[in-house]
């Protein structure tokens, strides 16, 4: 009897806080969101009514919402691809016997500890003022165009800054992956005549597949959720052409006070993120091998 009581106290003390916080901050809001998504609540009024799936229909027929999805997916593809290729390249180079390699690693990692919001404001300065100054001095077309004022270049501005911002993270993970490739395997492959690209593709890639999974997961899931950088660099402009899904949801709920519709969009967003990231993890996990 006493033992059961002690076990119950132990369970409450150790698990209680986590379960409580989890319920209040994650589970209840998640379920509440499902409920709100079927109402026409504006976030403030005391009364609202049940509208069933109307909000989902409105969301799917909202051209801005659909556009924000395509924008976010295109952005994710571009960023995930570039960040992983460049990040791996850097990691590959920085696992060679370079004298200052720790310094270079630190340099490329610095932006990663800085906040996306502030960096967006900083790059806003670069793309508007600095480019203008370079353009005036050199007359290069590349710098005379208004980068943030044009749909296409605004997209690439976001890609450039995101890659600059997140590169260090990807690099670190790939460095850890490469450090885990046993030298004997590489040497054995070299004795068998593998070199250069063959060695890289046939031997190294399969052995660092776990790092590739992690880096793809991180780049994809963080870009799908992009908000801060997007908000401060382009604020969705010009004309909403660079508005991410997270921003679209934010505006729907907190600027236009459509909590119901915003919640429906949030549920759709959640489902899409889960499907995309799960598909990616399943796909790359299958390719993992043991050294």
């Amino acid at each position: 009897m006493r033992k059961r009581l002690l076990e119950a106290i132990r369970q409450t003390v150790f698990m209680g806080p986590a379960v409580l916080v989890y319920l209040a901050v994650l589970l209840i809001p998640f379920l509440l969101g499902l409920y709100y998504s079927m109402t026409d609540w504006n976030g403030a009024s005391a009364s609202y009514s049940w509208v069933g799936f109307d909000n989902y229909r409105s969301a799917l027929f909202d051209p801005d919402f659909i556009r924000s999805f395509w924008f976010t997916i295109r952005l994710t593809l571009a960023i995930a691809l570039l960040m992983n290729v460049i990040g791996f390249g850097l990691a590959f180079l920085l696992t060679k016997k370079l004298r200052f390699r720790n310094l270079w690693r630190a340099v490329f990692f610095v932006p990663n500890v800085l906040g996306g919001l502030i960096l967006g404001f900083l790059w806003n300065f670069i793309f508007t003022k600095c480019f203008e100054a370079i353009g005036e001095a050199t007359n290069w077309h590349l710098f005379t165009i208004p980068w943030l004022g044009n749909e296409n270049t605004a997209f690439w501005s976001l890609v450039i800054v995101s890659v600059w911002h997140g590169l260090g993270y990807v690099m670190i993970i790939y460095i850890a992956g490469l450090a885990g490739v046993p030298a004997e395997i590489r040497e054995a492959a070299q004795i068998d005549g593998a070199a250069g690209w063959t060695l890289l593709i046939q031997v190294t890639f399969p052995l660092i597949m776990a790092s590739i999974t992690v880096c793809l997961f991180w780049t994809i899931s963080s870009t799908l959720r992009i908000f801060d950088l997007n908000y401060s660099l382009t604020s969705g402009g010009p004309f909403g052409s660079t508005e991410s899904v997270a921003m679209n949801i934010y505006y729907e709920a907190f600027r236009d006070n459509h909590f119901g519709l915003g919640s429906a969009k949030a549920v759709i967003f959640f489902a899409v993120v889960v499907v995309i990231t799960a598909a990616q993890v399943l796909l790359t996990k299958r390719k993992e091998v043991e050294a």
């Binding site: 916080v21 994650l26 589970l27 500890v113 670190i172 776990a210 709920a253």
Partner: protein, 277 residues
Amino acid sequence: MIGRRARKRLIAAEGMLLVVSVAFLYPLALALMNSLKTMNDILMNMGSLPREYVWSNYETAWNVLNFPRALLNSLLIDVFSVLGVTLISAMCAYQIVRRSGRFNRAMFGLFVASMVIPFHAIMIPLVQVLRELGMINSLHGIVFAYWGLSLAFAIFLYHGFVKALPYEIEEAALIDGASVYSVFFRIVLPLLKPITVTVVIINALWIWNDFLLPMIVLQGPDNRTIQVAINTMFGQYMKRWDVALPGIVMSLAPSVLFFLLMQRQIVEGISSGGIKG
């Protein structure tokens, strides 16, 4: 046994990296350089050092941001969020591993599953829940929210680590009559130190840089964090780069300082967190 050609190539790589590194950090240098100029000087001589150093830019930005207040708010939120989530999740993961009954295993499944929920998917109802709990517009309210938002990943990391701990030491202490609480705090918690460093670093960084949650739940100038203060400042001083740039530099400084002091721990923490995640 590096051949001469290989060594030459390494030196060439080193030279190339120097150029790329300078270019890579140049945006930060531009902000620093131009933060000390007059508006006119910024527009006319962007790429050079200031003609005269206008330190008063920093004074203006300091006041506009209400910097001491914002810094204090950010620090308080960060410290208490990280302390809380570390303790809560270490205890929870320990219990899940040592008492893996059906309920605890199910909870672990729920924790891990919730790692895929994007913040934006729950932010709307989360504001309502915090309001009902009387936690809107207060620092302790947002700390509570951060516990919840960072809990799952922390439990996941601790879970993997505790599973690898040998039970014999704890068992011996328990047989000697120690309570499970003193075993946890005196034996287990110190053993968890490596993963605790990871949990602390990962959470300290993202919570420090988080913008959306404080913007939604903290209203009023006295509650602003650094991120919110910067955003407010840009609302008013969008074209005044002689105020905005020192504001940016000032707000990035704590993170840069943290990185310089903790570089090794940050890199190791990030890479071990990433590999397990």
